[in-house]
Symmetry: C2
Subunit: 159 residues, 2 copies
């Protein structure tokens, strides 16, 4: 394991127990968020993976499938199937890159832009945080930013 922050029991009071509790709770929250997001994604006629692929595409900066695969952290072969779905739905177009005919540039269509905006709304749906006060929300945001990359919410860009 080679990592000290591990404990078997509840162990409340020491840092390991606190951190372990927090990690499990974060996973629990994420699963809940995913659950209702997936319902809304399905209502858009997309699978979660296809929605994420569309969301990852920048309508103003088309890119080859290889780069999308890298952004999604998956194999190129999966991008083929994902883009198949998006293209069939008229949300994305494949265009052979004249400069390198091996590559196909992925272009978000006008319809794709609209659906992508809806996807962005869905993945930003924050109903689970409604119970937090304004200061608590700001506090939570700073903490999760620090956890995810040690950056600062005010200056850094998005995901």
């Amino acid at each position: 394991m080679a990592h000290p922050n591990l404990s078997t029991g509840p162990d409340r009071g020491d840092r390991s127990g606190l951190a372990g509790d927090t990690v499990r709770r974060i996973l629990h929250i994420a699963a809940a968020i995913r659950h209702y997001q997936d319902v809304e994604i399905a209502a858009l006629g997309l699978t979660p993976a296809a929605a994420r692929a569309l969301h990852e595409l920048d309508p103003d900066r088309p890119l080859p499938g290889r780069d999308l695969a890298e952004q999604l952290g998956c194999d190129r072969s999966n991008v083929t199937a994902l883009v198949d779905k998006l293209e069939q739905a008229g949300l994305v177009e494949r265009r052979v890159d004249p400069a390198d005919r091996r590559q196909k540039t992925l272009v978000v269509t006008d319809a794709g832009r609209r659906v992508r905006d809806r996807v962005h709304q869905v993945v930003s749906d924050s109903r689970l945080l409604d119970g937090l006060g304004t200061d608590e929300l700001a506090n939570l945001r700073e903490l999760v930013w620090k956890v995810s990359d040690g950056g600062c919410p005010e200056q850094c860009g998005e995901d």
Copy 2:
């Protein structure tokens, strides 16, 4: 949609934008946690779903598969395959309940207890929170507890 906390752009400064940022960041963190946990789960010779099933079983209180399915939030048919794996690995035993011969009680073996303890360590692995100070960690923990069920970390039990 029927929910007001939605925004399309970055919109930093208003509550919707803050909350959306936070939600996406939480999902990002959860994905990172899952990623390294899955690696360690695989090192135990288990799939993530099988590990979760084993973790959900209480070695001191055997229960029928139906209850495990409910705890996992999945269909009974999946439990069959999951327990197949766990039983084949010698971690769990199926025993026909004499009181109701339709039911099969799931009993964690001694080997199962040991692996389950390791699984608990893995799902509590908090390396991602190492960058937080002690007070920040306590702060984060209170906030995620409030989000996940409005409860209080000091009094309530585990997941």
